[in-house]
């Protein structure tokens, strides 16, 4: 009589947990400060006046709701992410289609696209800050002058500063979207295209009814990452505008940083941080689910 064999991998041993423990320990080391932060968001912690420290329940959050600066930051954060994802995914798709076509030096172009992608974002922002420069000496305004445009006060005026941050952000992240979508384009099956050719379809129709639907999971994945990163964009804004001018580029992340490290209101800073965290969590939760469904449909 042969003994019944236990399923090979379904052991109830504690081995996997043991294997995970060093990593979990490191992360738990980070969960402690995290919960400490949640606690701070319920206090009026001033770094410079620790003796005033008091537990004030949800007062920080209630104060947020009445604060016009908060509602501006929230609106700016959300609309920035929305515009960023739409424009960057749109442009990224155009670049991906271009790189996927029959053009000379495709490999070189692809490698070139990686350069902005692996730059430290702060350095990217500094590079563009140098190019935007002052109104007269900046190279961008000089180039624009040949087209009879400008000069633009890039980082100095409210609307142009927002656009400038967006340009810098796009320079660094457009390759990410394009490369994901290019990878997607190259993995598409050829059968639907052959069938379309037999049916006499071409150009826009093929793109609209074959390429786009097949590419959907890749578009959603690229969009998901862009949304999640744009909602908490910080490096570029900090290096390019420090939230200015007139707080125009103060998103929630910058405002949380300012509360904590310029005004030393740790409690209020953490309240801003928690709102941002909830936003990022909600966005990633829904988008990840959406992506999984889309990926299953097309069996990615």
């Amino acid at each position: 009589m042969s003994r019944p064999q236990a399923p090979a991998r379904h052991n109830k041993s504690i081995l996997p947990y043991l294997l995970l423990s060093p990593g979990l320990l490191l992360l738990l080391g980070m969960l402690y400060p995290f919960f400490l932060g949640v606690y701070y968001s319920l206090t009026n912690y001033y770094l410079q006046y620790p003796h005033l420290f008091r537990f004030i329940w949800l007062q920080n959050y209630l104060k947020l709701l009445e604060d016009p600066l908060f509602s501006y930051s929230l609106k700016f954060t959300l609309s920035y992410a929305l515009v960023a994802v739409v424009v960057q995914v749109g442009l990224g798709l155009a670049v991906a289609l271009l790189l996927n076509g029959r053009i000379i030096g495709r490999g070189v172009l692809r490698a070139m696209m990686l350069m902005p992608l692996m730059m430290p974002p702060v350095i990217t922002a500094l590079m563009w800050k140098i190019m935007m420069g002052s109104t007269k000496a900046g190279i961008l305004n000089y180039l624009l002058s040949f087209a009879g445009l400008g000069p633009v006060n890039w980082l100095g005026a409210v609307n142009s500063a927002i656009v400038s941050v967006f340009i810098i952000d796009t320079w660094g992240n457009l390759p990410f979207v394009s490369l994901i979508l290019l990878g997607g384009l190259q993995s598409l099956p050829s059968e639907p295209y052959e069938a379309a050719r037999v049916d006499g379809a071409a150009g826009w129709g093929v793109f609209r009814y074959i390429t786009l639907p097949l590419l959907k999971p890749f578009i959603i994945l690229a969009g998901t990452f862009r949304v999640m990163v744009s909602v908490r964009i910080f490096y570029v804004i900090y290096a390019a505008t420090v939230g200015g001018p007139a707080d125009a580029t103060m998103n929630l992340h910058m405002r949380a940083f300012f509360y904590a490290f310029q005004w030393y209101q740790m409690g209020m800073g953490m309240a801003y941080a928690m709102v941002l965290l909830i936003l990022v969590f909600l966005a990633s939760y829904f988008l990840m689910g959406y992506w999984k469904r889309a990926a299953e449909q097309t069996s990615l």
């Binding site: 400490l36 490698a111 070139m112 990686l114 692996m118 702060v122 590079m127 941080a273 928690m274």
Partner: protein
């Protein structure tokens, strides 16, 4: 009949010209910033702020000299930031963080790739969620804690904080590489009498060496790019290059030329390393979601 092929060639030419222009625009958009920073880094202070901008000028290496000398040579140290030191700090902190992440990450990703157990997916997601949380939620409490624990402005503290960047990445990347190894290979080793340790050391690790190399390089690069944690947790002695480069902006003045030189120097390791991991960068940036 004669006009049709003619029209087609015209259309083809229009299309070709349009495509060429699009490619040229893309190249210009991507490369010009690097080109301009290179020029700026070779300019003397007066040439940098000249209006209109100078394309032809007398190049100088003074900016590079200034950032390489740093503060060590007294009189010649015209710059306030101590750049050579920042560069070494970046290397030290990034290597430390990647090393620590690997010690903890290899067993963790092995467990997540090869075993089924309760809460497996939840635990895997816990690792991932640290990567996507806005850094400020950790930075504020860490800043307060590090002051109390004397970890502020120390390499140990920074390496611990960098775990938030490198550990989730390492676990998810290695897991995706480990999962690519067919389970049959592992079964064979088990039949030969290998324990889990033997399987890991003799089978999994050797077979995924390229993946491990990619993970090390990418992890190093992500740590190199980090700006958020060192901004508040590091001091003048432990600043990495990213925070160092921004020190050229002060209330009195902006040292444009030196900042350009420092930016280029800070990017060199990234450009060299990315040559080795070209094919894997997208995979790394999506934490292994896209192969």
């Amino acid at each position: 009949m004669t006009t049709f092929p003619f029209g087609l060639t015209v259309w083809r030419w229009v299309r070709r010209i349009f495509l060429t222009m699009a490619v040229a625009a893309l190249v210009f958009w991507t490369v010009f910033p690097f080109f301009w920073i290179l020029l700026t880094s070779l300019k003397q202070p007066l040439d940098v702020i000249a209006a209109p901008p100078k394309l032809i000028f007398e190049p100088t290496l003074q900016n590079y000299e200034a950032i390489f000398i740093g503060q060590k040579r007294g009189l010649y140290a015209s710059t306030r930031p101590d750049f050579p030191n920042f560069f070494l700090n970046s290397i030290l902190i990034s290597c430390g963080a990647v090393g620590l992440s690997f010690l903890a990450g290899i067993p963790a990703s092995f467990a997540l790739a090869r075993y089924t157990f309760r809460f497996k997916e939840q635990l895997a997601f816990l690792f991932l969620s640290f990567r996507f949380a806005p850094f400020i939620t950790f930075l504020i409490p860490l800043y307060i804690l590090f002051q109390q624990l004397n970890l502020y402005n120390t390499y140990t503290g920074l390496i611990l904080a960098y775990q938030l960047i490198s550990l989730p990445f390492t676990v998810w990347m290695l897991r995706s590489f480990f999962m690519e190894i067919p389970p049959e290979v592992e079964e064979a080793a088990k039949i030969d009498g290998c324990s889990w340790w033997g399987v890991l050391i003799k089978v999994i690790l050797p077979l995924s060496l390229p993946g491990i190399a990619v993970t090390i390089i990418l992890g190093f690069m992500f740590c190199w790019n980090a700006f958020n944690y060192p901004l508040m947790l590091a001091g003048r002695q432990t600043f990495p290059v990213t925070v160092g480069a921004i020190q050229f902006i002060s209330y009195e003045q902006v040292l444009w030329g030196q900042m350009a030189a420092a930016s280029l120097v800070a990017v060199v390791p990234q450009l060299i390393l990315s040559l080795f991991v070209q094919k894997y960068i997208v995979r790394g940036l999506t934490m292994g979601a896209i192969r």
